[in-house]
């Protein structure tokens, strides 16, 4: 009876919240042009950033500082997972290997998954995607390795070094902008060096967007692989 009461109470609460949110959205017309800032971004994105993909230009260039904060949140989350699951001695404890299909598939697909992830984050200024999906794709490759082989572990030392180095180079790219252009994360490659002005819509354009997205892709890839590693290993008592 208690659970029935709880359930009906929850449903009534949900209906009230739903009505309230729906009423708020009744005033927002669907499918109509209501851009204010977005219009400015769309009209100036090619001249100001050299990127044809307006979304990644907003994420990396116009609001690059936000993205630095986002990378920090991701870093804190991965550190938090590491701290929460910290044990004195942790090892892989899986006992059954993956099936022959999984093992063979992983062996052949793994390099292609890495190449595809790299493709996604290098072409962030041209195609949908960017550093975050690319990094997640790379982490998927490592997850496959963990699933298929019972003894596999990521190379911890090099992953940690890579993670720290790319995190630092994001800040360094921003500081170079501060030295050249006067504010943090100033797009010096595009606005001072004019690299790729005749090349818009191809790979070598977009100012520092490909550079930063490569940094973000590597960082997200190593961090998510670290989270996978932390979650899959268990404490071993001697």
């Amino acid at each position: 009876m208690v659970s029935l009461l709880k359930r009906s109470l929850a449903i009534i609460t949900l209906l009230i919240i739903g009505y309230w949110v729906a009423q708020a959205f009744a005033g927002v017309p669907f499918g109509q042009d209501k851009m204010l800032v977005g219009k400015y971004y769309l009209e100036n994105v090619v001249n100001q950033t050299g990127s044809v993909n307006a979304v990644t230009a907003v994420v990396v260039n116009y609001r690059g500082f936000d993205t630095l904060g986002e990378v920090t949140v991701l870093f804190i989350a991965s550190t938090g997972v590491g701290a929460l699951l910290w044990r004195r001695k942790k090892e892989r404890t899986a006992r059954t290997e993956g099936s022959i299909v999984l093992k063979t598939g992983t062996r052949y697909l793994f390099p292609f998954i890495l190449v595809f992830g790299a493709y996604i984050f290098i072409h962030g200024h041209l195609t949908p995607g960017g550093g975050f999906p690319g990094g997640a794709t790379i982490a998927t490759g490592f997850l496959l390795l963990y699933m298929a082989f019972i003894v596999y572990e990521i190379p911890h030392k090099s992953f940690e070094v890579t993670e720290g180095l790319v995190g630092m180079s994001y800040v360094i790219v921003g500081l170079i902008g501060l030295a050249i252009g006067g504010y943090f994360l100033y797009d010096w490659i595009w606005q001072t060096w004019h690299v790729g002005t005749t090349n818009i819509g191809r790979l070598l354009s977009g100012g520092f967007i490909p550079v930063i997205y490569t940094i973000i892709g590597l960082k997200v890839g190593t961090e998510l692989s670290g989270i996978i590693d932390n979650m899959l290993k268990e404490e071993v008592r001697e």
């Binding site: 009744a26 307006a54 979304v55 997972v81 979650m231």
Partner: protein, 116 residues
């Protein structure tokens, strides 16, 4: 009666379904699945606010002029939100792992000092 677009309706329903799971379910993992569903609903809601009928993705190549693209800002926001969602889900899952190690159950009512 209020009239809202079917896309808003679907996204809000997803948010409510997720909230229902968070409120009613007793298994921690099911609550986390509810949180993820809520997150998807919020993302869909943001994206559908930025949609403009008949326009294409805000990638200004192959004949897409600024007048023929949808609003890029909600999409950039959602890109951020998805990544943060993954990170927080990983955190929450590791808390669930610790809870299971400590109490040997995932049922919130059976855990001591956490009745509700």
């Amino acid at each position: 009666m209020i009239h809202i677009s079917v896309y808003y309706f679907g996204a809000i329903s997803l948010i409510l379904i997720g909230l229902y799971a968070v409120l009613v379910k007793k298994n921690v993992l099911k609550m986390l699945i509810g949180l993820s569903i809520m997150e998807t609903g919020v993302n869909l809601l943001l994206i559908s606010v930025g949609y403009i009928s008949g326009r294409s993705a805000p990638i200004l190549s192959e004949g897409v002029t600024p007048g023929r693209a949808v609003d890029p800002i909600p999409q950039a926001l959602v890109l951020t939100a998805i990544v943060i969602g993954v990170a927080t889900t990983a955190m929450a899952l590791s808390v669930a792992i610790i809870l299971y190690e400590k109490y040997n159950t995932l049922n919130v009512e059976e855990m001591r000092r956490l009745r509700g």
